[in-house]
Symmetry: C2
Subunit: 612 residues, 2 copies
């Protein structure tokens, strides 16, 4: 089996050289616990674990999958070991849990976590969900809730889930029908309903599972605003933290999926015997029946959604590294420009190298974009400079839909290309790339479909705060171009970037006009929203990687071409050139389509889509 390899150099570049990590490590929350010197050690340690502990179980999980019988899910034993290993040794939830002393900056945590996700995405999703549940309890629970639950979740004894989706309420979570009935015990409710697509909803990783459940209290308003949030342990937890009786939560099935076969996607029935108890989080419904359950959940969503994009990026990156390695080893065919020179490795073929650089450019561009998102979240969450924190919060919120959607959509295409580089063997399960293709596809649906995020961008993020955060965001783009455009060696690239900026500015104007005339133009808003998102994402990714390339070029000038890092920096410059000259021009094309505003999709009779 091919060995796992990952571009730890690029992660170190981002943290040690590119982002202003002095600022991040200087934040009060972190300054006594972590310092810049920790970066290399942490990344090196985790890279070793990713190679030796985590990646080896990835294929096993895919082949064996999980077993479901009598309401119980059984994972391959190696998964349980790996889960406990990471959680107990402090490489899991503890490092991203707000209530933990070991809390790391997201930038740092996510850098090492990226390698673990790449090595086994089915495993890391259990950790991610546990962290999410613990963070919800930390942020919105009572002191008692925190004491009862968090420690055991962070140390791997208990795992956690988020329960939103129902059989008849997916993207429209406001239509949920799960109910919460008050009991005589204040704060304790009886929960009744069915939830589906619950990652880790039933699993033998841990002795207890803490479900965070959206449910509508009696008398709650309809729609999403009536939903409350409840802590529903699989096994009841006594006030002293000891385990009580089993709660009335039953796993009634798991999904048979295309990929992520060791990630248990459960259908859960709560309160089938009217005996499922949940602890209310936050205040009860107000006099108008409104609860804050969904908004509490959404509070965690920016990180979670950027994290989903990051998950997609990590898988596409892993597939790319495998394909690149294979391309240097596999001898196949002769050069077009020099056929007499004999057979050559695949990478010598121009189109193969083009595919590889396309993957590299997408990976590095998206990674750069994502880490800027985490950087903004670090500042937004922890900076004492409230003005700056607010600005960064706005920027992170704008980036969230871009990252989530662009990374997930691009991953499907790029992993398809990784299979292509392998040729026929890439289609077999002997090599790891086909599993990545199967594992990654869900990420354009998880945590909101691409369309939902596109509407979040044009409907909310571009317009929130009277449009100030988006104007800030656009202004940052413009300023980057103004400040750097005379940088030697990137003249053509800055011209292209400026043109793409202009396209996005025009699109923004157009969308403002649509909102101003919603009766006449409203239908165009959702019709072209996803294209708008793609344009914004490609503009931002292009800028980010160009910014990196400028730094890399300076490093080359400083260190010379004989330095052992020369190859890395030269590769970075080429990634940026490829991205801007080959990928970014898609923005011009999309902008034309948006302005052209063809409505054939809306005019086509619905019946024309149906055959019988």
């Amino acid at each position: 089996m091919a060995e796992f390899a990952y571009d730890i150099r690029d992660l170190k570049f981002i943290l040690n050289e590119w982002l202003d990590m002095d600022e991040v490590f200087g934040l009060d929350r972190f300054k006594d616990n972590y310092e810049k010197d920790d970066i290399d050690f942490i990344l090196n340690e985790v890279y070793k674990m990713a190679k030796e502990v985590v990646f080896p179980i990835n294929k096993e999980g895919d082949e064996i999958g999980l077993k479901f019988a009598n309401g119980k899910v059984t994972l391959p034993p190696a998964y349980i070991e790996a889960y406990k290993f990471l959680q107990e040794n402090g490489w899991g939830s503890a490092n991203e849990s707000l209530g933990s002393d070991e809390l790391m900056p997201l930038t740092l945590y996510r850098a090492y976590n990226e390698m673990l996700m790449a090595a086994c995405p089915a495993l890391t999703s259990y950790i991610k969900l546990t962290t999410g549940a613990a963070n919800l309890i930390y942020r919105f629970g009572t002191d008692q809730d925190r004491e009862m639950f968090i420690e055991n979740m962070l140390n791997g004894q208990w795992s956690g889930t988020m329960c939103l989706t129902e059989p008849n309420a997916g993207s429209d979570v406001g239509d949920s029908t799960t109910r919460a009935y008050p009991t005589d015990d204040p704060g304790i409710y009886k929960i009744k309903g069915t939830k589906m697509f619950i990652t880790g909803g039933e699993v033998d990783l841990s002795e207890n599972i803490i479900h965070m459940v959206l449910a509508r209290p009696e008398g709650g308003a309809p729609g999403s605003k009536g939903l409350g949030l409840y802590i529903v342990p699989k096994i009841w937890v006594n006030e002293d933290g000891s385990l009580g009786e089993p709660n009335d939560v039953v796993c009634i099935g798991v999904e048979h999926k295309m990929g992520l076969k060791a990630s248990a996607t459960a259908m859960l029935s709560f309160g089938e015997n009217d005996n499922c108890r949940g602890i209310l989080v936050g205040s009860p419904a107000d006099s108008e029946g409104a609860s804050k359950g969904l908004s509490m959940m959404f509070h965690m969503m920016n990180e979670s959604r950027i994290g989903t994009g990051h998950n997609a990026l990590s898988q596409m990156a892993a597939a790319y590294y495998f394909a690149a390695k294979y391309a240097t080893e596999r001898i196949q065919g002769r050069l077009f420009t020099n056929p007499k020179a004999g057979r050559v490795p695949l990478i010598k073929h121009e189109d193969v190298k083009r595919i590889l650089l396309e993957m590299k450019a997408q990976v590095e561009g998206i990674r750069a974009m994502i880490f800027r998102g985490f950087y903004y979240l670090d500042i937004a969450e922890h900076s004492s400079d409230k003005e700056k924190a607010k600005r960064c919060q706005g920027l992170a919120e704008i980036l969230t839909p871009l990252i989530k959607t662009y990374a997930a959509e691009t991953a499907w295409q790029m992993i398809g290309q990784a299979i292509q580089v392998y040729g026929g063997v890439g289609y077999t399960e002997e090599y790891p790339v086909s599993q990545y293709a199967r594992d990654v596809k869900i990420l354009s649906i998880w945590e909101g479909t691409s369309f939902i995020h596109a509407m979040d961008l044009v409907g909310r993020k571009m317009r929130m705060g009277d449009g100030v955060p988006f104007a800030n965001w656009m202004n940052d783009r413009k300023e980057f171009i103004e400040t750097n455009k005379n940088n030697e060696g990137f003249g053509a690239e800055f011209n292209r970037l400026a043109k793409a900026y202009q396209c996005v500015a025009e699109i923004k104007e157009l969308y403002s006009a649509y909102y101003a005339d919603k009766t006449q133009k409203g239908h165009l808003i959702p019709l072209y929203a996803l294209r708008v998102l793609t344009c914004c994402a490609q503009l931002f990714a292009a800028e980010s990687i160009l910014d990196q390339a400028i730094l890399a070029k300076r490093k080359i000038e400083e260190l010379g071409t004989d330095h052992h890092d020369y190859t890395y920096y030269a590769g970075k410059v080429n990634s940026a050139k490829f991205f801007i000259n080959n990928i970014l021009p898609n923005v011009y094309y999309q902008a034309e389509l948006i302005k052209n505003a063809d409505v054939s999709a809306l005019e086509c009779p619905e019946e024309a889509f149906i055959v019988s």
Copy 2:
């Protein structure tokens, strides 16, 4: 389980209304056997079979797959039944076999075969390979070969394979090391070597398997020109057609693939005990060691490669029909433009409808392109007008790489979108779309990778016959625009088409200049070849579907909007508008990139791709 549905109306439109099938049915080879009135009957019959006999086994094959033990492959029994049913009842190889009285025009055969491929691609590949092998024997074998083999292949008793690839010779088949040694028996050779990726190489469908094997005779020249072609039956066939002893052909393994799990992809060892006999096809190697094995195989390749594109099209079409149906049934969310109207079916959401029309436009555009290819092949093969046959042969050869590659590459993207329409359930194996994604991916690799076809286009097809066939092809495009551009209602579309034509013309000029200055510009030829192919394919598909839309619009004018066919025709007009206004402009974008000729992919140091 969802019921199989297919757009039989579009197939009927192509054969009954759009293509000049009078010309095809008037060809000497067909005029006594088939007539236009047969079309609807044949399509209706096969559609019923596809629904009732073939589609029901598709999921079973995926779930159960095949078993391999002791050198034997066991298929799910339903596969064997379905194979025999189609072959014995004359719905398989007999209809596309040159030596058969039932030979149909490809246009007709392929129209019904499309539904069978869509219903179960793993099944139809066995039929396709059997036909291919039988056609090779018919065209290049002796009378005795024909008598010994063909009948039993066409009636389903024996199946066939094509054996090209070896562990160390994939895309570069000329590097094959399988050998053929003469025996005392004239025309009989001993075969020794290993072949891999042999579809149907070992399978329990039939009592014998007829392998068509490329091997290098002793003293054969190196490279592809030294390869001969041999008939190697799994069980030796006596001169009277009866079965003899087992030949020395052993299946040493099957691939575990991402999809097509009921399609046996075998590794075969020939002559491990020095006792594998093969019958030479064609003449022995000439004095320079040259044989015609590969060119004989390639003679069948145009149809086979268009067929691979057609296979991709059929799967993407099936996934689209399933997704469209689901979108009309599944209630989810509220309209952006009218949220108070309550929950609506998915198809009402603008972006969902946009995805559906994109799939529809791609499906219909590619299908139109493919059937023009089959039409050209029918004329090329059977017309008594030699001039016309030659012209059509040239056009079919140009279309071959376009169809094969554009269909296969687009299918991966479009089936990904079909999963997206379903949302979370699309990622589960309860619905058919994820299987299509897994099944289809190999088609961009089978029968030559996308890059190989791109080089075939720019290196051979654009330049063969002093460039006359490609000039004819371009001229046809120009003439279409000139003749139809004033057609009312499509003014904007013709402007766009003319612009795309101009782009392709400029690209062609540029490539001619590259070939004229290969020393300086040669590297750009392979670097941008795939983009060139995409431009040509999108131009041709756009024209084809626009041509259909003009006809559809005329039909609407004739029949009125109350006619039961109105929806179909209106949908066709919208498909064309969507294709030309949203997909075709990609040609402008690609043409810009080609002209810009960025070489970052070639400049990037190889070491920059490798991480460790």
